[in-house]
Amino acid sequence: MELDILTIAASRQAIQQKQMTAKALAEAHYAKIASDDPKIGAYLTLSKERAFAQADKIDRLADKGDELPPLAGVPLGIKDVMMTRGIRTTAGSKILKDFIAPYDCTAVERLEAAGALVLGKLNCDEFAMGSSNENSGFHPVHNPHDLTRVPGGSSGGSAAAVAAGMAVATLGSDTGGSIRQPAAFCGVVGLMPTYGRVSRYGLIAFASSLDHIGPLTKSVKDAAIMLHTIAGRDPMDSTSADIAVPNYVEEIGREVKGMKIGIAEEYFGEGLDPDIRAAVEKSIENLKTAGCEVVRISLPHTKYAIPTYYIVATAEASSNLARFDGVRYTHRSAEAKTLSEMYRRSRDEGFGTEVKRRIMLGTYALSAGYYDAYYLKAQRVRTLLARDFEQAFQKCDAIITPTTPTPAFKLGDKSEDPLAMYLNDIYTVTADLVGIPGISVPCGLTREKLPIGLQILGQHFGEGKMLRLAHVVEHMQAR
């Protein structure tokens, strides 16, 4: 069984047609994890009991000859920022190293209800803060394409597991690029839905106005299947939109003729790797061949997106992470004599450097005397960024950009320079700030044989057209 190319549809079909059992498929994945993960480091916790219980259920259904649910027997991995009842959930942080989640994240619950099984929990940057997975409180993740390189982050484990065939698909989370950037680095598909499209109930919050849950998969069609399963209103998340979920899977294979794709020069400027530029331009030519019309657009405030993001995201994080205080469910320092010592020491021992840095920056930006200059200023610029896209989308259906300015870099290359690390998200971060969906699709390799990601940004709730275009990019690239 070639696990690294096994898709959702193929897994389900094989189980439905009794070519293999769900149990055997899960076992094959665990064998692959046992042999390959020691050098990659994608998994933090395996949930075998839960996975095999679900596999048995699916196999009994298959034995009866019933029509199986859409994700029947499909082995998935879940980024460790999502709650999984009875299973250790750490957010990649030592402060939660022994935390057993008391309930399930809605997205996980919906995937299991559709027949999927959860193999385990995936490594990530601590509290999803990072672009290389080097900020994991446990161990870094290595890129399956080149073990000396990072897989990207923060959903580095989610991307690496899919790329290495250690899960058919995974869930990640995206606050500034954390699904799309690692997808690009590892050569897989990564989709961030519109803000409000997918419930965040059970997602450990980093920055609530920016956090999204989305899939990482081996194909655009698989991304559509995953999105279709997890999307839609959830009474447990008041920010989930009450907007009907279209059948995203039906978009796959539909024509793109006559669709207008926007190209913004701000995304092709200084710092863009020439191989990435060439591969993206080649895909744009392919889309033209498929009948798309290319429209020049301008997103003039692009260069302000990273500074805006690092105020908004850190301000929200400083508030969200206040709950990890040593009282109810976190690590507690053994040293503390008083309550206030306990808070401080527990947080000091439990949080890593980047998390502390972001809490400090966010607290500073919100503190008396600086609120207007930083937090409010960033919110005003956020409006300008949103206007850029409103105007652009009057002229086009979707926007095509590179996902990242460079391919995967070496471990250690940027870990001492937070600013250099932040600039990795230069093409992805704006979509989070304005709430539009984005997908990264593999579109070739650099001369060094490293994967290249092409990003498609859609209109609010425009995942359908975005997926349609993504499928064409994927399909024409394969030829």
Partner: protein, 108 residues
């Protein structure tokens, strides 16, 4: 240098973080570097621009006014089982089985 060492101490105190001397020095340097970069925002005149705190309300039905725009986020106030007491304290670092235990708050 915008952020002084006293600022670092003050903000760490607000954020309930305890930093070592080495961490303080590093933090001061990092915060200043990042804030210098963030200062680029001041190139923009935003006096007439409304702040955008969240994007969800963009999707609320337009025809409704005020709090009604968010009526989709409301649900009936019915009693349902929540997290059990046991589940709520299962991860407690210290507990007596009923309550979370913490070090003494008020000194004699």
């Amino acid at each position: 240098m915008k952020v002084t060492e006293q600022d670092v101490v003050y903000v760490a105190d607000l954020a309930n973080l305890e930093l070592t001397a080495a961490e303080k020095t590093r933090m001061q340097k990092d915060l200043n570097n990042i804030l210098e970069y963030i200062d680029a925002l001041n190139e923009l005149d935003t006096t007439a621009v409304e702040p955008l705190a969240e994007v969800a309300s963009k999707f609320a039905p337009e025809q409704k006014q005020g709090a009604q725009r968010f009526s989709y986020a409301m649900r009936a106030d019915t009693v349902k089982p929540g997290l059990s007491h046991e589940a709520a304290i299962q991860n407690a670092p210290d507990s007596d089985g009923k309550f979370f235990k913490v070090p003494k708050v008020i000194e004699k």
